[in-house]
């Protein structure tokens, strides 16, 4: 890392690097001190910050909703209970009108996906340098690490592994419920679907499998792409603060404007991830 002045590319690359724990090429396990080291770890590496933030926010979601549920009163509900009720009713309504089967899993799953993805995306609104800088100071003074090697990304959904993991989870549920509801007949959907004749099986299979794989792929990359682009723009705006007073103030307004617009993107991406999860599960529940 450049010692004295930090060039903008170093700044950007520093902010895009996760806190990775994994197996070094020489077999020892440890934290990666630079992006090259993290890249060399290859498969045997785990993004500790993304995992910590996503699991932590999942727990926040469970705790929040459990607190609301345990203190639910039939009398005059407080503001907190109103908010939770609104979310549950909103998600319930969406599930009712786009899920055409009966399953005990889809309702809670939709609520979890919606609120969890929303909470993870919400971290994007926190100013880019706030928590990573605090982590840098904590790493430097408490743990005596070199500040330039303290990497800390607080938005889990800007790490491609988290949306990909969730999309794979939805994909597994799709296949599981497809077989559970339709039994072995589920395979017929792929072999005989567009052209109902045995001679067309290879053509059908090719088209249906491509369609099937496109679902989790687009589901994951849509969430990742939106959040990564949003984070990248926040980082680029943050680099304006080091370019003199006028540009700094202009950067401040830009960040405010982009953050307000980003509130829409955050909720919209969480909503779309939920709706598509419901639609995909409802497609695998349909029984002709």
């Amino acid at each position: 890392m450049a010692g004295g002045t930090q060039t903008t590319t170093d700044y950007i690359q520093h902010h895009l690097q996760n806190w990775v724990y994994g197996r070094h090429p020489d077999g020892t396990w440890g934290f990666a001190h630079s992006s090259q080291e993290a890249a060399e770890m290859g498969f045997w590496a785990i993004h500790v910050d993304s995992m910590a933030w996503s699991i932590g926010l999942g727990l926040v979601f469970c705790w929040l909703f459990r607190k609301a549920a345990s203190k639910a009163t039939a009398g005059v509900p407080g503001g907190f209970q109103n908010a939770i009720e609104y979310i549950v009713e909103f998600v319930g309504g969406t599930v009712k009108d786009s899920f055409h089967g009966h399953s005990k899993l889809v309702g809670p799953l939709a609520l979890t996906v919606f609120v969890w993805v929303f909470l993870m995306n919400l971290m994007d609104l926190i100013p880019v340098d706030l928590i990573p800088y605090a982590a840098q100071k904590f790493g430097q003074y408490a743990l005596g690490m070199d500040p330039h090697h303290v990497y800390f990304k607080i938005v889990p959904t800007t790490d491609v592994n988290i949306p990909a993991g969730m999309a794979l989870g939805v994909f597994a549920l799709m296949i599981f419920y497809g077989f559970k509801v339709k039994g072995p007949g589920y395979v017929k959907d792929f072999i005989l679907h567009p052209f109902n004749h045995w001679a067309f099986i290879p053509v059908n299979l090719f088209m249906e499998v491509v369609g099937l794989l496109a679902k989790p792929f687009s589901l994951a990359l849509r969430l990742f792409g939106n959040m990564f682009a949003g984070e990248m723009i926040f980082i680029l705006i943050a680099t304006m603060y080091s370019a003199g007073l006028i540009l700094g103030i202009f950067g401040g307004f830009l960040q405010l404007g982009w953050a307000i617009f980003h509130i829409l993107i955050i909720t919209l991406q969480a909503f779309i991830f939920m709706v598509l999860t419901i639609v995909y599960l409802s497609m695998s529940h349909e029984d002709h």
């Binding site: 687009s218 990359l221 849509r222 792409g225 990564f228 919209l268 909503f271 779309i272 709706v275």
Partner: protein, 79 residues
């Protein structure tokens, strides 16, 4: 190696054109539908936001892949 940047630029611009057209049509149809039946406005708006997100998917994946091209395939040229 510089061609990578041109490739990323073409990818971004064509995806953006497509998405812009899609969004424009979607917005126009929303206003048309709302004008025709104002009481359906909330439902139409809900559907519009859902479709706007879906239309957004392709260009954003294009943005993701072109950023990958710029920052990973040609780091020297891109930085």
């Amino acid at each position: 190696m510089e061609l990578v940047i041109i490739a990323a630029a073409i990818m971004l611009s064509s995806a953006a054109i497509g998405a812009a057209l899609g969004m424009g049509l979607l917005g126009g149809k929303l206003i048309e539908g709302t004008a025709r039946q104002p009481e359906l406005a909330p439902m139409l708006q809900g559907k519009m936001f859902l479709l706007a997100g879906l239309i957004d998917a392709i260009p954003i994946i294009g943005v993701g892949i072109s950023m990958y091209l710029i920052f990973v395939v040609a780091p020297g040229v891109g930085a």
